[in-house]
Assembly symmetry: C2
Homo-oligomer: 467 residues x 2
């Protein structure tokens, strides 16, 4: 019977609509109360209408103590899908709490590719514990999948494929489908992959077309127009890109010899797209991986490296300032104004950088337009630089009553914002060329450049002009 | 016949694999050469194997002059799908170049929901020009879709739905499908929506299940487990979230009375997810919308507001510094070291902020865990603050030979990094509560806080302790 996931709160009015799909604090509170009074029946009643993904979210949002009590109480109802949806760090914690019987039951009910997804990030001993409880055929399938490198199409694909030889008709394909045992078919499938005698995929037929065509129609006459073959070693990020770019619903995966070995469907590609974006956003901010459910120690460790890099950067910029101590001692206004030049450069640089990193990720920044983009970013820096230079020049004159100081800050601002455009675009492009993820490393380099250039241009000009 | 999109370059070796799905500069150069020598045949030969999405990318990557020459030469081959894939600003430019005959041919071949997607962002006169060339039925459908607000589920959905009454059997559904005219069915569909007599959706049946079941099986016995109904006014970002969270493939859309009026499929949801992410990344960096194909003037305009906000912020921070001019005049080392304190706070704040903004977007930060998250971020700030305070204290002593200066910078660093954790988490949460997109506005507030607190704590302590 169909189980409709109810909206977690009434969706009336604008505010409620803004909260759509959000776990309601009231639900969480009721669940925690049931745990507090040790009421298994009440807990089951509250959790039953929730989708596994929402239960996972709930587990992530409560603290470790409540979580372990909840898992123990919920125990027998715990299914594998909840485990799949859990954040890595929480997942290990929950698996450690589950009794072996519950764990093995939860895992046995899952498809082998979901088991792969579940265990690939687990510690070795937890991984082995789960592999042991699987049936032989499933264990072999999971181990084979784990042989493909992490983040490859081979790791992402499901192995159950519905295929048909090229000479088949619609009728033959339908009879084949109806004759195949349930467990040999994927849970959900939307295409039949047509293969040649060497098992090379040659086309996709959608079930909709199959269903509406005459039994005598050759499959080759009703192939989909868009068809993409994915090598098993292809990076999953590129796979997600291809699904989005070419509007694919499913795509066959092939081995080195081009033979069909699995299929990737759009729901998996969408999940990857989401993860890749999360990674990009967090990396741009210098937050390694990190999720809300990590503990203080882990979070501190994740953020420390980037802060350390930033400290080195900041000290380098300070050394530039220290070269001009004499000038600052004479004109303290320089110390007051210098952070403005650096800050505007840093912001302009971050803007250029983010656009460039995003364009590289979407493959829109290529050899064909790289120079035009760099030129544009420098020009934008120049125009904005001139605008803000005029503003700051005026501010300098009014605030400190010194036209010369206004002139110096204006020129320094223009220089730094042009450099920001250049560095913000050039650095990610260079990093990508040498094989470093531009999202990860560009920020530190660009800010170093804009800080150093900003302080040097402003203080250097001031020393030359004003002293 | 199936048209396989060939990889745009040979995918051998690690480097080539890294370039997967990227438009090769050589391809672009050949296309431009064909345009240069005015060779329509050669151009068609080069463009034919390319997917419409890649042709759109190519058009975006070349300059405006080449683009208009290319569009004119390619003319008769130009189809609507290329227009759909084009970036807004380029799309308007291309439509202006196309002859009315070519444009009307291109648009008439498209599904009505693709036409909506195509024209919703166009200028009024271009929109009308396209509406005029549509057949009456299509025009009405497009106009009805445009009545739903932008970014709503109603605007996103397709109107062609395959539905079946609840009492039907598998056989009845199959016969209905085979009996329906091609043009009344969606291009691609994966589910049949089961409806009650009031047209309220009650469940989904996948085509795979339908095909494999006996003709006499009631549809209600083979419904999908996961089923979500989407109100037409729901924000498309929430729709994309629901598809990703609940692993939906398609979902029925209903009007205010709960009646089925359309369906959204996962490929549209994936495109929305991608756009939402792009928006988040760009907003976090203070780049309004912006794409690589925008011109200098547009780009300058998009970036100016954020830079202006930053200027105000930077001036506010400078005013804090100017309160301590006397201290700086006596100890110039303060001017050298103060940017370090502000910079470390700014970075730590950006880290907290990004994690919080992302968690709000994924609905992982809710009333249930908000205080725990804020406490954690402050603790992380404290721990990292202490670590870097020790480092900077030592640097201060070695560099300037002043233990007191080292002590001051250390304490200021700890204060600013705790405040960074608090502001980085609290500000986006507050903004979300009052209905402002935290991705858009948080950055400016958080940096203001860390700059002001950084300078004030460091210079204030220095003035109190060292003078």
């Amino acid at each position: 019977m169909s189980e409709q996931i109810e909206d977690l709160e009434l969706a009336t009015g604008e505010d409620a609509e803004r909260q759509a799909y959000k776990l309601e604090p009231k639900t969480v509170a009721s669940v925690l109360y049931a745990v507090d009074i040790d009421d298994r029946e009440k807990l089951t009643e509250l959790m039953d209408p929730l989708h596994a993904a929402d239960i996972a979210d709930l587990l992530e949002q409560i603290n470790a103590f409540d979580r372990s009590r909840l898992v123990r109480l919920y125990d027998r109802e715990f299914d594998g899908e909840i485990l799949s949806e859990l954040d890595e760090s929480i997942r290990e914690e929950v698996i450690a709490v589950l009794t072996p019987q519950v764990l093995s039951q939860a895992v046995r009910d899952m498809d082998s590719d979901d088991v792969v997804d579940l265990i690939e990030d687990l510690e070795d001993d937890q991984q082995e514990a789960i592999l042991e409880v699987l049936e032989d055929a499933d264990r072999v399938a999971v181990e084979q999948a784990l042989n493909w490198p992490e983040y490859s199409a081979g790791r992402l694909m499901q192995r159950e494929v519905v295929m048909a030889p090229e000479h088949w008709t619609v009728g033959q394909a339908i009879d084949h489908l109806r004759g195949t045992a349930e467990e040999d078919l994927p849970d959900q499938f939307y295409h039949i992959v047509m293969v040649d005698p060497r098992l090379h995929p040659v086309g996709n037929v959608t079930l909709g077309k199959l269903m509406r065509s005459k039994r005598a129609t050759p499959l080759r006459d009703i192939l989909e127009e868009t068809f993409q073959i994915i090598p098993a070693m292809r990076d999953e990020g590129d796979v997600a890109y291809a699904f989005n770019q070419y509007h694919l619903i499913s795509a066959p995966v092939v081995d080195d010899e081009g033979r069909l070995i699995g299929v990737i469907t759009i729901d998996d590609a969408m999940a990857v797209l989401d993860e890749e974006h999360e990674e990009d956003i967090l990396r741009l901010a210098g937050v390694g991986e990190g999720s809300l459910s990590d503990r203080v120690v882990e979070t501190t460790k994740q953020r420390l490296p980037w802060l350390a890099v930033n400290l080195v950067t900041a000290i380098a910029a300070s050394m530039v300032i220290s070269q001009f101590e004499a000038a600052i001692a004479q004109i303290v206004a320089l110390a007051v104004l210098m952070p403005i030049v650096a800050s505007m450069g840093g912001n302009a640089g971050t803007q250029s950088l983010t656009v460039a990193v995003r364009a590289i990720a979407t493959k829109d920044l290529t050899g064909s337009n790289v120079w035009r983009v760099i030129r544009r970013e420098c020009l934008v820096g120049l125009v904005n630089g001139v605008i803000f230079a005029v503003v700051m020049g005026v501010v300098g004159i009014i605030w400190f009553g010194s036209p010369a100081l206004g002139y110096v800050i204006a020129v320094a601002m223009v220089i730094n914002m042009v450099v920001a455009g250049l560095a913000g675009t050039g650095i990610p492009i260079l990093l990508e060329r040498v094989g470093v993820d531009p999202a990860l490393a560009s920020g530190a380099f660009v800010t170093t450049v804009t800080d150093v250039v900003g302080f040097f241009a402003f203080l250097g000009l001031a020393a030359a002009v004003l002293l």
